[in-house]
């Protein structure tokens, strides 16, 4: 279904340098509504930096990021949220002294630009979606890790993004908890594109039909999940040794 939709996100030659280090190196990516992409790679491959180039937390040193046909390379993070790109952070960035409802209300009002009353209704809906609707008035600081991750996801969803960026939202969770998060992400796929960075392949396998691999800042693979996953050069990237060497010893 993805190919019939217009291109939502177009990244051309995105590059990010920190001094002499090339964190992201000439990455191209095209995404359509309805597509979910898993993004994997070894530590330091530049996955999180690449996500922050999309979310606007950092800006490209060279290259171009377009969203819905508009060049947003220089647009700051808060304006990209309004434009339709939201990110759920690796470490939940919740507002500890605010209630769950208020945590979700903020992106509904500012990110999604909803009027107060609609925003209140939307908050209830989002909290119910992530399973946090039982006690909307407790402060976020009182939540455990899984619930904080749920709330982080709820905050991103509340901004009504057409591009949802998920940064290791399953990291640190137990297996049944990962299942819960996967089920949640699957419910969020309709009507939007998702880029999900994760170290747990099982979580991505069940949700993303497309897999992108990054290594040393560059994109090395991009294609249907099963195909990329079966690619023998993937082991080379993760193990740091060519296949031939393994068989030779």
């Amino acid at each position: 279904m993805g190919a019939t939709e217009p291109v939502l996100l177009r990244v051309q030659g995105a590059t990010k340098t920190f001094g002499s280090i090339q964190a992201v190196d000439m990455v191209d990516l095209e995404l359509r509504i309805g597509e979910s992409v898993g993004l994997i790679g070894p530590n330091g491959a530049g996955k999180s930096t690449f996500l922050s180039l999309l979310s606007g937390d950092q800006q490209v040193s060279a290259g171009r990021v377009s969203f819905e046909g508009r060049d947003i390379s220089r647009v700051p993070a808060h304006a990209r949220v309004v434009a339709g790109i939201a990110r759920a952070a690796q470490i939940p960035q919740t507002f500890g002294r605010l209630s769950l409802r208020e945590n979700v209300l903020l992106p509904s009002l500012f990110g999604a630009r909803l009027p107060q009353r609609e925003a209140e209704d939307w908050c209830r809906e989002v909290l119910a979606m992530v399973g946090l609707d039982a006690r909307p008035d407790v402060p976020a600081g009182a939540l455990g890790l899984l619930d904080r991750k749920r709330l982080e996801l709820a905050k991103a969803v509340a901004a009504r993004p057409r591009l949802l960026l998920l940064d290791e939202i399953a990291a640190g969770l137990t297996e049944p908890e990962v299942e819960t998060i996967m089920a949640l992400v699957r419910r969020l796929q309709a009507g939007r594109a998702i880029v999900w960075v994760e170290h747990i392949p099982a979580a991505l396998r069940g949700t993303c039909e497309r897999l992108v691999v990054m290594d040393k800042g560059a994109k090395t693979h991009d294609g249907p999940f099963a195909e990329v996953w079966a690619d023998r050069s993937l082991q080379e990237i993760y193990m740091g040794v060519p296949d031939d060497d393994i068989s030779a010893h």
Binding site: A77, V81, Q93, T94, F110, A112
Partner: protein, 320 residues
Amino acid sequence: MIRISELLVLAAGLMAAILGALFIDSGLLFLLCEVLVIFLLAQMWNLLAGFSGQMSLGHQAFVGLGAYTLFYIANHTAIPLWLVLALVPCLIGLLAIPLGLVMFHLKQAYFAVGMWVVAEILMQLTAKAQWLGGTSGMTLRPGGTMLSGEPERPAFAIAAFGAVALVVALRVFLRTRLGLATLALRENEAAAASAGVDVKRLHLILFCLTAAGTSAAGGLYYITSLYITPQDAFQINWMITMMFVTVIGGLGTLTGPALGTIILIGAREAMTAAGYSGGQYWIVMGAAAVIVLLLAPRGLWPALAPRIRAAFTTSTKSKA
């Protein structure tokens, strides 16, 4: 929107302000004016440092700017003094826009110290400006004549109503969408931006509001003293007082600065009455600050509030 209870508080505040101005003895009014001005100043600094997360060490700049602007306009025009007082926060609030845009290039501690430098520069410039009286300062002579009557009476009424109105206004503000964004800013600036809040713009709004409020309180204070010098109006002691009162009482709470002001002035009056010197008073206050921050790092009010609430609920339960 504003609640009935808050309207009642406003009405009660207005009544108290008028009755106080009419019937309280003049000497006590001076003291109360000082208490209220300190509370207003502290609450303004609290809004900036405690809620918006921007620690400024130079808000005395706005005390001085407000007071000098008030004196200059009042002395050189026919505009009534109390109208000038209403004009001052508008002018200084606008002036804070370009100042904020420049100073926001500095972050955190650099911003805090940068603001202090701004205040020092303003003090030096004012001392050099002969048209502002130079180092010897200015006397308040609205329209060129000495102020007649007892200015502390209207000053008290304005300060008292202003203090009540400010707390009500802040409560109402914190319920609005911009208020929610401010509370989020207090918790986590990056996360507020990720929710779509234009953090820089919100910082600038709060910076201007606090500059305006601080200048009005400064102007009010110097109306009661009738005389102003650069060394007095731009002194760092204003800043220390705002900070002491807010941090001891509870940074980022609306009640904290009130509690802090009562402690600061209450202790001063009690110790002066008992014959202790100013030096001894500051030793006690310094020690009190250290002890409070060791035992209750977030200030007295956040430490006390849950206990007061708990005591209140158990007592009402036992009655029922």
